[in-house]
């Protein structure tokens, strides 16, 4: 038994993405959820499973606001930025077990207007160990913790900041063509190289945004997905992967490999496809380096060859592997990867703002909490 095509994305929704709002994360999450439910052609009371992300809107908020009378499944996937895609696996398992039929994945946040993301990390319980042993020395925020991984990659393989710049520039090019992306000013390699250093080798333009907004996804049982409003997008393969030493990067045997390296072979095997079948990839991009590292860990190139792989616009809409066609966390909005699932769905329906011509099969990844990974491979029905 596997989760191969055990569920389909039937609805996706977002709010306007912003850098500044008076609204609450709960209000934003409700708006995106209602948009996703309407996109699927469902009523809010049809939702019988909920997987909310983070501390914004919790299951109880949806029950209260939607008047759900008989919620049959409620879960969370505590994997930071890997949570949204890992939730797909959780939803499929619940659907296949017959527990529920329509699972809503939700994320709403005020990452810009509320508690800033960088300083919130130290209060998270999964970071207890680094909280005691590394944060007192000044290693506090993700860009510092991940910069150490990037520096070793640079030293071992000759990877350069200009190669990371290629990722930032290509992602911005996509964002400029997407009206809901918050960053609309063109970026050059030189702009990236001139941006201020945050934690070497990461410059400002290697880092993702802090954003306000919400995104939501409805996953439905495959037998009823065909009767809904939009053409379903079937989940062919899905997996999560946890790195060695998951809570402390410094103790990880190989700090240049992420949890995704364990998940990707499982997802590709379940999907029954190979890398050359992937028409479009939405790859979690909290930092440029993390995109490159995941491309290696998924096997699009060998470990150490990611710098060369991303050069010369390879990740552009007309490149060899179009990546983050919406502008990603770097230039659309930081919706912790829920916006990546929304974008992959739109690509495979043929309704994206920046459309890869005739995209049939694509993948989406998540990355978070110092190395957790998740991946889903999908196809249009």
């Amino acid at each position: 038994m596997s989760l191969h095509e055990a569920g389909a994305v039937t609805g996706v929704g977002e709010t306007k993405y912003m850098r500044g709002t008076d609204r609450t994360p709960v209000s934003l999450a409700m708006e995106a959820a209602l948009n996703a439910i309407a996109d699927a052609g469902l009523k809010p009371t049809d939702i019988d499973g909920l997987i909310p992300y983070g501390a914004g809107a919790v299951a109880e908020d949806f029950v209260t606001n939607f008047g759900i009378a008989d919620l049959r499944f409620s879960a969370t996937t505590p994997m930071g930025g890997a949570s949204a895609v890992a939730s797909i696996q959780c939803a499929l398992a619940a659907i296949q077990a017959g527990i529920c039929k329509h699972v809503l994945l939700s994320l709403g946040r005020t990452g810009y207007s509320g508690g800033r993301i960088g300083t919130r990390v130290q209060q998270m319980p999964q970071f207890r160990t680094i909280g005691e042993f590394e944060m007192p020395s000044g290693a506090i925020a993700p860009p510092q913790l991940y910069a150490v991984m990037a520096r070793r990659h640079f030293e071992l393989y000759g990877t350069t900041s200009r190669q990371l710049a290629e990722i930032a520039v290509t992602t911005r090019q996509h964002a400029i063509m997407n009206p809901n992306a918050t960053m609309q000013r063109p970026m050059t390699i030189e702009d990236h190289q001139a941006s201020r250093m945050i934690s070497d080798p990461f410059r400002l333009l290697d880092c993702s945004l802090e954003s306000d907004g919400a995104a939501a996804v409805v996953i439905s049982a495959p037998d009823i997905a065909n009767d809904l409003r939009k053409r379903p997008v079937l989940v062919m393969g899905v997996a999560e992967g946890h790195p060695d030493s998951p809570s402390v990067i410094s103790q990880r045997p190989d700090i240049t490999t992420l949890g995704l390296a364990k998940a990707a072979p499982k997802a590709f095997a379940m999907a029954g496809v190979t890398h050359s079948d992937i028409d479009v990839a939405e790859v979690y991009d909290c930092f440029t380096y993390i995109v490159m590292c995941q491309l290696e860990d998924m096997g699009f190139c060998k470990k150490g060859e990611g710098g060369g792989f991303v050069e010369n616009g390879a990740l552009g809409i007309n490149g060899r592997l179009p990546v983050n066609t919406h502008g990603g966390l770097l230039s659309e909005a930081h919706m912790a990867g829920m916006n990546h699932i929304v974008e992959l769905t739109r690509q495979l329906r043929g309704e994206a703002a920046v459309q890869v011509p005739d995209a049939e099969i694509g993948l989406v990844t998540g990355y978070g909490d110092l190395g957790d990974g998740s991946i889903a491979i999908m196809r249009r029905a």
Partner: protein, 134 residues
């Protein structure tokens, strides 16, 4: 002036490490049964699942595994330190540790650079480890 940086909150599992640092000694936790050294301190040995632990004096010597030079203060307490270098170090005992570098120029940094643990008393009840050239 008040100390405004983040401070560790030692537990029963970790206090001997901090107490030793405060006495100018660098100690690591070791399984009392199979003798495997582990860091950071924790309740269970992942080799034999023993919960018996002991503390042993470590050499403090190691080599640079990676680094980052931070130019942005993510916490107001560290603003005055910018820029500062964080080293991830392979200790001789087979575990790693992260701490700030002292007296090492950016141009000297490379994988494998020998370093040695130093001790910085930052407040009355707290000593933090740092790395100096070994």
């Amino acid at each position: 002036m008040a100390y405004e940086k983040l401070v560790p909150e030692p537990t029963a599992d970790t206090k001997p490490f901090w107490d030793a640092l405060h006495e100018g000694k660098f100690r690591l936790q070791r399984c009392a049964d199979c003798k495997k050294i582990r860091h950071y301190p924790r309740p269970v040995c992942d080799a034999c699942y023993s919960m018996n632990a002991e503390w042993v004096e470590a050499s403090g010597r190691g080599t640079v595994h990676s680094w980052t030079i931070t130019h942005h203060a993510f916490h107001p307490g560290f603003k005055g330190d910018l820029p500062f270098t964080l080293l991830t170090v392979d200790l001789e005992e087979g575990v790693r540790m992260q701490a700030q570098a002292r007296g090492i120029d950016e141009a000297e940094l490379k994988l494998g650079l020998p370093v040695k643990v130093g001790f910085e008393r930052v407040k009355d009840d707290l000593t933090l480890p740092v790395f100096r050239k070994g």
